[in-house]
């Protein structure tokens, strides 16, 4: 048994999500890690986190599947209320709008936005009674500026930013803080097919960011020093968008 605060992270098996999990484990949080299908990666990450002496529970489910979300979380929430909820689960289905399938639109909105709705509803309800909590959503610079080929993704991320600001207003007086971290180009699988030689000149810092540079900001927003920050969008983008 452990008295450490628990943080739930969606989409935690790879990329930025896994980086956040490692960073938060180093800070002493116990973790509930959601992921969709990357079982092997998730189990390896769990072993790594337990090695650091933290509790780590794996919760494989599709964040857009209401029944699966409830089945996985409701029994746990009846016993324990996490201190933090990090919504990081994300997918891309990039293509120009005239060529975008209905499925590509629906799927991207479902994971980011409906996922935030379903998870945020459960966690915020549980946090209200505790009179404390932190919610951090991982958005994207695309959700702030728009991006060709990402009408679906930018709409989802922009929607999430607006949803977080609204929720921040709703629950602020219960000491529940809601913020957004908005990464630019980060060195993950998600950017492996992008033409970096053309994109990097647009980044004032001239390089991609690291997963650790995003995870550090999430860690800060969960910590005591971020106690008066809510409804904010913190860019981690090397100056790509100011």
């Amino acid at each position: 048994m452990s008295d450490a605060p628990v943080v739930f992270i969606s989409g935690a098996s790879r990329g930025i999500g896994a980086g956040i999990a490692r960073r938060l484990a180093d800070s002493g949080y116990d973790l509930w890690l959601n992921y969709h299908s990357a079982h092997a990666e998730a189990r390896a990450l769990q072993a790594e986190i337990e090695e650091k002496g933290r509790r780590c529970r794996l919760l494989p489910f599709d964040v857009a599947d209401e029944e699966a979300v409830g089945a996985a979380l409701e029994p746990l929430l009846a016993e324990e209320t996490p201190y933090g909820f990090v919504h990081n689960a994300g997918i891309t289905r990039d293509t120009l709008l005239p060529m975008m399938s209905r499925q590509d639109w629906d799927r991207v909105l479902a994971t980011h936005l409906t996922g935030f709705f379903l998870l945020g509803r459960l966690f915020s309800k549980a946090m209200l009674g505790k009179r404390k909590g932190r919610i951090v959503a991982v958005a994207s610079v695309s959700g702030e500026t728009g991006q060709a080929g990402q009408v679906n993704y930018a709409a989802a991320k922009g929607g999430m930013i607006a949803a977080c600001k609204s929720l921040a207003r709703e629950v602020a007086r219960r000491n529940i803080l809601v913020n957004v971290v908005s990464p630019g180009l980060i060195d993950t699988e998600m950017i492996k097919d992008l033409p970096l030689e053309r994109i990097l000149p647009m980044v004032p810092m001239g390089r991609v960011g690291t997963v650790e540079e995003v995870a550090g900001v999430v860690n800060f927003l969960l910590g005591p020093e971020a106690g008066y920050i809510t409804g904010q969008v913190i860019g981690v983008n090397g100056g790509l968008y100011m």
Binding site: A126, L128, G129, R131, E170, V171, R173, R174
Partner: protein, 84 residues
């Protein structure tokens, strides 16, 4: 019925954390919101969660909640009607 109302008053004070009042200060017909006990909309959400936890009664939307939450007496009636 009296027991149920007493229990609800204790839940309001202990779990919604109403400050500076005792169960005796809460009249059965006192409005829970606004000029009565002064609960706010977030308190209402908490009350929904607590009613489910303590009595197994689900208040599925706030329209229903508004009717049930007009007073302790009405809330007690609501719980008795909906308890299996």
């Amino acid at each position: 019925m009296e027991d149920l109302k007493e229990k609800l008053k204790h839940i309001l004070i202990d779990e919604i954390k109403l400050q500076g009042i005792t169960p005796a200060d809460i009249k059965d017909d006192m409005p829970l919101f606004g000029d009565g006990l002064g609960l706010d909309s977030l308190d209402a959400v908490e009350l929904v969660v607590l009613i489910q936890k303590h009595f197994g009664v689900q208040i599925s939307d706030m329209e229903e909640g508004k009717k049930a939450f007009t007073s302790i007496a009405n809330l007690a009636d609501y719980i008795r009607e909906h308890q299996a």
